[in-house]
């Protein structure tokens, strides 16, 4: 599916630019996009190095396994294919906790560590495993207690109550998260039945 999304984005872009007679926009946008991508990746080096270092200590101290042990019941429901006290679970829990607390800087490295651990359990290294799909569904629809960026923007534009959206936001993500888990369950069985 991602192949088609990607292809359509570029081809429709080129087609539209050609029809509008502004074809030069395409090259410029492509190069700017590439530059932004590399900047994003390089921006990650610092936080990745830091958190991978800390996580290595946590792992050797047995904390990651201990955390995985604590959340067993939930994990058995959401990630039946992951062994009970696998380090992946510890990293998943830390990633989701960081997301919930709105700590984006910590959430991304934890998430990438979780993916690395899940990849060790993956029989097809170029294909997303069931557990990875569930993890990403949870992650893209993850609950945030305090959406601090948007609260800041509301305050800048003179809102009488910048935090008024906290409650609605939590309710809305809860709906999204539930939908994510349900759809993930459903599609998992569909894909399993098809063997893909």
């Amino acid at each position: 599916m991602v192949n088609y999304v990607w292809l359509s984005l570029i081809l429709l872009g080129i087609f539209t630019a050609a029809c509008k007679g502004q074809i030069d926009v395409v090259t410029q946008a492509a190069l700017e996009g590439a530059e932004l991508a590399v900047k994003t990746a390089f921006g990650l080096i610092a936080i990745m190095a830091f958190w991978l270092g800390i996580m290595k200590i946590a792992e050797q101290a047995g904390l990651v396994r201990a955390l995985a042990y604590l959340v067993r019941p939930v994990v058995r429901f959401l990630f039946p294919s992951v062994p009970r006290d696998h380090p992946a679970i510890g990293a998943i829990v830390m990633n989701l906790s960081a997301n919930i607390l709105g700590l984006g800087n910590a959430a991304t490295p934890m998430g990438l560590i979780a993916m690395r651990e899940l990849q060790k359990l993956n029989p097809h290294p170029d294909r997303a495993s069931d557990a990875m799909c569930t993890f990403l569904a949870l992650n893209t629809a993850c609950l945030t207690l305090i959406p601090s960026t948007i609260i800041g923007i509301r305050a800048i534009y003179g809102s009488a109550e910048p935090t008024a959206v906290v409650g609605p936001t939590i309710l809305a993500t809860a709906c999204g998260m539930t939908a994510a888990v349900l759809v993930d369950r459903f599609l998992r069985s569909v894909y399993r039945a098809r063997g893909t």
Binding site: M1, V2, W6, I10, L12, G13, I14, A17, Q22, V25, A29, A30, G33, L36, A37, T40, F42, L44, M48, A49, L52, G53, I54, I57, A58, A61, L63, L103, G111, L112, M115, P125, D126, R127, A128, M132, C133, L136, T140, A141, T144, I146, I150, I153, Y157, G158, S159, A160, A164, V165, G167, P168, T169, L171, A172, A179, A180, V183, D184, L187
Partner: protein, 177 residues
């Protein structure tokens, strides 16, 4: 309530760091060496992401700059207006899964134009806060481990986004209207 959550956010990382270090020392981990060993992989992991990020961000950037995005928004607007989605927030809703910074820009514009406490302002704030940049997360996380076949991850991610959007509209209408 808000103060408590803010305080927790502020203290979470320092407390976590202290906890990990103390536990490491108590369990006999050579903390400095372990840290360096782990941190060593940071560069490699970030660099491995570059091809995946370039592919995705280039495509989104071309789609937006060419004006195809605006046409797409116009087309979907017709469709979604049947679902009583206010047309003002459509550009935001469609941009949200693709580009975090662009969506935030649209949200700021809407808040400035309609006022933060208007229905549109509250709605776009809720929609912005309750969803994530799905394609960025997918590209980043799958890219980090070299996954090329995403299977149903795109479908479930977008379903979640759509549900969140509809839920935001219903909830904000119910509370503030």
């Amino acid at each position: 309530m808000l103060e408590i959550v803010t305080a927790v956010s502020k203290w979470a990382i320092p407390v976590f760091l202290a906890l990990v270090l103390v536990a490491g020392v108590l369990r006999g981990v050579r903390v400095f060496e372990a840290f360096v060993e782990g941190a060593e992989q940071g560069f490699g992991m970030a660099v491995k992401l570059i091809p995946f990020l370039v592919a995705m961000i280039v495509a989104i950037s071309v789609f937006r700059a060419s004006g195809a995005m605006d046409i797409f928004v116009g087309a979907v607007a017709l469709l979604l207006s049947c679902l009583s989605v206010p047309p003002e927030i459509l550009p935001h809703a469609l941009m949200r899964p693709l580009s975090g910074s662009a969506a935030l820009g649209i949200a700021s514009e809407l808040i400035e134009e309609h006022g933060p406490d208007s229905f549109i302002g509250l709605l776009v704030s809720t929609a912005q806060g309750s969803s994530d940049t799905t394609f960025y997360v997918l590209t980043l996380y799958f890219g980090a481990v070299g996954i090329r076949k995403y299977r149903y991850a795109v479908a479930s991610g977008l379903t979640a986004d759509f549900t969140t959007l509809l839920a935001s509209i219903l909830i904000v209408s119910a509370i503030f209207k």
